[in-house]
């Protein structure tokens, strides 16, 4: 006897077994806990029943298999039909998410719930702040397990947009805390870029991440450059802040050569035959582009040659591709 069979609460339900199709893919007899619960869920769904016991049943199934998205969807429908308080559901989901790090269905479910909840708090700043705080606390717990969890970061961007958290000091602070723990966390860098350059207070609406935005204040560009530059000194071979610096310069409409002096701190290329000193291949790459911008073709080519032959040989073909247009310039 299972958990449901013979249970008076479920007496009226005739479970529907899994139909795996015919022939070689035919159904087989299995009687474990999961199969029994799924049989009852199929019956409940066929009858379109939305009742409190559906919440118990789906919770039980999710505890065994959080990846079955139909179960989540049916649970969301039931919650809506019953008008169940959403905060209770959120705190239950926190536990499930912490136990199922790779699961993504749960994040979509969470978005559905927040969308449902939002209209009732949209005119109450204190309620929005409270929700933002509790969600941030939960996400911080998730990041303690895996600070690069893509689903959590995607959800976080959704939440920032939904609740308008671009100017929330806690939001930027939390990203800085994550970077302090792991300066190589590319997800945190990416989120920072989103927070800073999609801020509706001063950015152009729908400005693409790859394009110049004339509305970004100089002070913001300077602040972001300083932040990322400091990070490169901490770990010169960390590609994230180098990419970030390029992105900031692009947003601010500045040339790479405007921070040439900074990149030069990592690279010494003597004019004579003495050996060069390169503390970061990313700096060398950066300088090559800056020099190329300024028309210092030979210097740029020298840097790219060093990358191809010495500092990043695994990508020799890429560096040679970068050299090709320089050769054209010198031959003209």
């Amino acid at each position: 006897m299972g958990k449901y069979e013979g249970n008076p609460v479920w007496d009226d339900v005739v479970p529907i077994p899994q139909d795996d199709g015919e022939g070689a893919l035919a159904q087989i007899a299995y009687t474990d806990e999961y199969a029994e619960a799924m049989g009852y869920l199929r019956a409940i769904m066929a009858a379109k029943e939305y009742s409190p016991r559906v919440l118990d049943l789906t919770e039980h199934i999710i505890s065994m298999n959080a990846a079955h998205y139909t179960v989540w969807l049916y649970r969301a429908s039931t919650l809506r039909a019953l008008n169940t308080p959403i905060d209770k559901e959120l705190s239950w989901m926190n536990e499930v998410a912490l136990q199922n790090q790779k699961n993504y269905q749960i994040w979509h479910h969470r978005q559905i719930l927040i969308d449902q909840l939002y209209p009732s708090i949209s005119s109450d700043p204190a309620a929005i702040q409270a929700l933002a705080d509790s969600e941030l606390a939960f996400m911080t717990q998730m990041f303690d397990e895996d600070s690069k969890n893509y689903h959590v970061w995607s959800y976080r961007q959704y939440l920032v947009r939904k609740l308008g958290l671009f100017n929330s000091p806690a939001e930027l602070k939390s990203v800085e805390n994550l970077l302090r723990k792991d300066i190589r966390n590319n997800s945190a860098w990416s989120h920072r870029f989103f927070l800073v350059f999609c801020n509706p207070e001063y950015s152009t609406p729908d400005s693409k991440a790859t394009e110049y935005d004339a509305r970004i204040p100089d002070a913001i560009v300077d602040r972001e450059l300083a932040f990322a530059q400091a990070a490169t000194f901490e770990a010169p071979q960390n590609q994230s802040p180098w990419n970030y610096i390029r992105g900031v310069l692009r947003k601010g409409g500045r040339k790479l050569s405007s921070v040439e002096q900074f990149a030069g701190e990592f690279v010494t290329l003597p004019e004579d035959d003495s050996a060069e000193d390169v503390k970061s291949s990313h700096a060398l790459d950066f300088l090559a582009e800056a020099w190329s911008e300024e028309g210092k073709t030979e210097k740029a080519d020298h840097a790219l040659r060093l990358l191809a032959d010495k500092y990043d040989r695994i990508r020799k073909n890429y560096w040679d591709w970068r050299r090709a247009p320089l050769k054209e310039k010198t031959s003209k």
């Binding site: 022939g23 087989i28 998205y69 989103f194 960390n238 890429y318």
Partner: protein
């Protein structure tokens, strides 16, 4: 198709092999054929929601291995058609709600089995390809160009690619607003040259594959900053030869496909070292019991098996059927349906 992992572990028996690693074709064929006999394992039932995707992964792997007939054609077609719902979409297994991703797997499997005729004869929602196409087209948000995975509205650049993949195979791309879809992809481009799941989301190799493949199908690759993207993609190769999906993450066999196929689509596969990658992929196979794992020493599964093989095929590993970088299906199957394939030449 069962998604049960194991029984083998990758790379444990390679110590006895000569330095020149070889692909264990027979073991992999047997491994895939045996997947469906493992219904007594709990994991089989925990992965029901991916069953139809699993059939696509297994069948594609068999095609690439040169054994397209290793699964019974009529059984496969019967199973696929049993997964179709009244609205024309396919669920992951019989009785499951239709979802965009399983619908695309269904179309891909039917195309590989030359089973579109059976779909015409036995399909639902008005029958045939058009019934499926209408379901897929109905998932597009006409305002944003994106696709929902199902009636619940979760959006993802993967869905956009998947829908365009299936609709183009069915010759029904005109049912959707391709220009809007392209504009949405453009809005997902990031400052580092990559693409994420939505505008502003971190660059991720899997999403890059989806965006590039969708743009390839739309014939709009020119909207990509190919040099900058190729640079980001080539940075995914780690010292050991494998590829990761994001900076500072571990290498994984499935990225042999997402990254390498993306590079191939923009004519820059030579920006990574093919020999090193080939060696890494081969180290991830279980040479005796078959199958590939994400990394040497881990449990094998059918997902990593197909993407390992597709990666090897892309790199020109001898004896494998050539894979199409956009569809992750045998190139000759795609050419039968769509005609000769154009490629961006290597610069």
């Amino acid at each position: 198709m069962s998604l049960v992992s194991g029984p083998g572990r990758a790379g444990l028996s390679t110590a006895s092999l000569p330095t020149e690693l070889r692909l264990s074709v027979a073991a992999h064929v047997k491994y895939i054929q045996a997947l469906d006999n493992r219904k007594d394992e709990l994991e089989y039932h925990l992965t029901t929601h991916l069953r139809l995707n699993g059939v696509y992964w297994g069948l594609t792997a068999l095609h690439l291995l040169g054994h397209p007939d290793a699964l019974d054609r009529s059984q496969v077609i019967d199973f696929v058609l049993q997964c179709q719902g009244e609205n024309g979409g396919f669920g992951a297994a019989p009785g499951h709600d239709p979802h965009l991703l399983s619908t695309v797997s269904a179309v891909q499997v039917l195309v590989m089995c030359e089973g579109l005729g059976e779909l015409e004869a036995r399909g639902k929602n008005g029958g045939g390809a058009l019934g499926v196409g209408r379901y897929l087209a109905g998932l597009q948000d006409r305002k944003t160009g994106t696709f929902r995975g199902d009636e619940w509205g979760e959006e993802d650049t993967r869905f956009l690619y998947a829908a365009m993949n299936a609709l183009s195979l069915l010759g029904l791309l005109h049912l959707i607003d391709v220009e809007k879809a392209v504009a949405y992809i453009v809005s997902c481009a990031n400052f580092d040259g990559g693409y994420g799941v939505s505008p502003g989301a971190e660059s991720h190799a899997g999403q890059i594959f989806a965006c590039l493949a969708a743009l390839s199908i739309a014939g709009r690759l020119e909207v990509v900053d190919q040099g900058k993207l190729g640079r980001w993609l080539s940075e995914r190769q780690v010292e050991r030869g494998g590829l990761n999906g994001r900076p500072e993450k571990l290498e994984d066999v499935c990225y042999s496909w997402w990254v390498a196929s993306s590079l191939k689509m923009i004519g820059k596969l030579h920006w990574i070292q093919g020999e090193k990658l080939t060696k890494f992929i081969l180290e991830c196979q279980d040479t005796e019991q078959g199958g590939f794992a994400d990394r040497p020493g881990d449990m094998v599964d059918v997902f990593h098996t197909v993407f390992g093989l597709a990666g090897l095929s892309l790199l020109g590993y001898p004896g494998l059927e050539e894979v199409d970088a956009v569809y992750c299906m045998p190139r000759k199957v795609i050419e039968q349906v769509l005609g000769p394939r154009e490629e961006i030449p290597i610069e």
